[in-house]
């Protein structure tokens, strides 16, 4: 695992802090009553507040505050009972007001920490510096016209949580593990859908190098537009190599904002951010300080759902699953919920196997999400139940499963329709075996003469005659007796 990069004559540590912008799950925007749904007609979800019309006043969304507090609690962080909204001033075409309402000196959430799971099975704690609430900007679209940019303000004013980590992250693997865990926690809390493709979660990576063993941090560059887990990995690898080359040639890294270009696979300086450190923050005169009551915060604490790590440990204890299976199951909340529904009253390990090996594999092939699966959790559980009570064999189950994936029919209906019910009637199996013995006198003689390996041949013949429906254990048992 690379937390370092090897130079000519020194090893350099890759030091990373991350800023993640997560869109708050809420019906309406942070300071206006316009809708937040993704994919609407351009500029159809814009209030005059979002459009920066003169004289419009912001009113804070209670649910956005609630979501920020719940997220803070999920990050084991301090909730600040007084926080202040401030204006961050800059000009950009998708920011109609000329300032973003954010929080600066007094964020709603202070220090916290989360645990990340590393590929080698180890756990590491990453400090959270703060979480604050702010408005999102609109969206600029550059590919609709050769010389023009198109602006859609639907996203302008949507509530964002900016979650800032301490520079505790080392190298690309830890960075992606951090992002995955953070995303998981937000999804579990239901405070952000974590959809990176739709831009509901975006990451900025602050990266610097220092000689391994040095105490002092090097000068960092901030990389923006790192919008997928894969991009985090690639951008870090590129940027670490770029800084290494500068440092090894005796140069100095410039503190600047750089843009990740996923097509050219490089980072480059963003000229528009030259004045980025001159935002001239000041408290927003349209908004009073936000004060939270302890009782309210405590009542939110009580409603927190089970978080990923708690669930992982419970799955291992309650269902006897391995660490690996548990980790895969809890990686998505909907997957964990699906599993628990399917495992209800069934053999939990068998259900985990069918879900992880068969269903997820089949869905993956079709590029379908578990949420859109034709096979419901109850149906998968039912299938496992049919195997468990010997109604069908494991082999037939795979055929039934293939039909389920295709049609969404219940397994018992399929078994009924196709007549796949396992034959467990001793008399019926004996008849089949007698036929096979009668048809293969030579092999019978050879087997009785000591060719033990032929036993498999007889089992195969009987199964074939039963069209796979005979209970294999019973076939084995009766065959042994008869031969």
């Amino acid at each position: 695992m690379s937390t370092v990069i090897q130079g000519e004559d020194a090893v350099w540590e890759i030091v990373i802090g991350m800023e993640v912008h997560a869109q708050v799950t809420a019906e309406s925007k942070l300071f206006s009553g316009a809708a937040t749904a993704f994919g609407a007609e351009p500029n159809s979800q814009v209030s005059f507040i979002d459009a920066g019309m003169p004289g419009m006043l912001p009113t804070l969304n209670r649910v956005a505050v609630q979501q920020a507090v719940r997220t803070g609690l999920g990050l084991n962080a301090q909730v600040n009972h007084v926080s202040v909204f401030a204006r961050k001033n800059y000009f950009y075409p998708d920011l109609p007001t000329g300032y973003q309402i954010s929080q600066y000196e007094h964020p709603i959430i202070g220090e916290g920490a989360i645990e990340i799971d590393l590929p080698d099975g180890k756990v590491k704690t990453i400090g959270i510096t703060r979480l604050h609430l702010e408005q999102d900007a609109g969206k600029s679209i550059h590919d609709m016209h050769p010389t023009k940019s198109y602006i859609d303000l639907n996203r302008a004013g949507c509530a964002l949580m900016e979650i800032v980590s301490e520079p505790d992250i080392r190298g690309p693997d830890e960075a992606t593990a951090y992002l995955s865990k953070l995303r998981m926690i937000l999804q579990y809390l239901g405070t952000c859908n974590g959809n990176m493709e739709e831009g509901s979660m975006r990451a900025d990576v602050n990266l610097s190098l220092r000689k391994l063993g040095d105490e002092k941090f090097g000068t960092r560059a901030e990389i923006k537009n790192v919008n997928s887990i894969k991009a985090v990995q690639q951008a870090i690898e590129y940027e670490a190599a770029r800084q290494l080359e500068i440092l090894e040639n005796g140069g100095e890294v410039v503190q600047e904002t750089r843009l990740w270009d996923p097509v050219k696979m490089e980072t480059r300086s963003m000229r528009s951010k030259e004045d980025a450190h001159d935002y001239r923050y000041f408290p927003d005169p349209d908004l009073l300080p936000l004060e939270l009551e302890s009782e309210w915060v405590n009542s939110l604490k009580e409603t927190l759902p089970e978080l990923p790590d708690q669930k992982k440990h419970r799955f291992m204890e309650e269902y006897g699953l391995s660490l690996y299976d548990s980790s895969v199951l809890i990686a998505e909340r909907s997957r964990a919920d699906y599993y628990e529904k399917a495992a209800n009253g069934q053999d939990p390990k068998l259900v985990a196997n069918w879900l992880l090996n068969e269903l997820l594999g089949a869905l993956n092939k079709e590029n379908t999400l578990l949420d859109d699966s034709k096979v419901s959790a109850e149906q998968l559980g039912e299938l496992v139940g049919l195997i468990d009570d010997n109604t069908i064999s494991g082999k037939i189950a795979k055929d039934v499963f293939a039909i389920m994936v295709e049609t969404g029919k219940s397994p018992s209906d399929i078994v009924e329709e196709k007549g796949l019910k396992q034959v467990t009637d001793t008399g019926a199996i004996e008849t089949l075996i007698d036929q096979v013995i009668a048809e293969n006198p030579d092999n019978v003689a050879a087997y009785r003469g000591g060719k033990d390996k032929l036993f498999g041949f007889f089992v195969g013949q009987v199964m074939k005659k039963s069209q796979g429906k005979a209970n294999p254990a019973m076939v084995n048992q009766i065959l042994k007796k008869k031969l």
């Binding site: 009553g33 979800q45 804070l60 649910v63 609709m144 023009k148």
Partner: protein, 102 residues
């Protein structure tokens, strides 16, 4: 009140910088005049620094009110025409501007 010359509190460089941040284009005469005017304003406001404010919490508002919170309901938007009405150029429901791309 302290009568001070504007130039003591403000210089050309700062005026240029503030103008740039505010996206204002100034000629030499305007810059000189603003050095004087902004300097005078700062000099006037600086009187306040004579008050000892150590250990005093900043005052967020002079009204003794609490911040009012809104319920999370969609009660606004759905007015594409009105939103785009003042735009110099639009197309397919978008604002259209000169290309800005990094």
């Amino acid at each position: 009140m302290n009568e001070r010359k504007g130039q003591d509190n403000m210089d050309r460089k700062t005026v240029k910088k503030v103008a740039r941040l505010a996206r204002l284009e100034l000629n030499d005469t305007q810059e000189e005049r603003l050095v004087e005017q902004l300097g005078n304003i700062i000099g006037f406001v600086e009187t306040l620094s004579e008050v000892d404010t150590n250990n005093v919490e900043p005052l967020a508002s002079v009204v003794d009110n609490e911040l009012r919170l809104r319920e999370d309901k969609v009660v606004d938007g759905g007015q594409q025409d009105a939103v785009l009405k003042n735009a110099p150029e639009t197309a397919e429901g978008y604002f259209v501007i000169s290309k800005v791309v990094e």
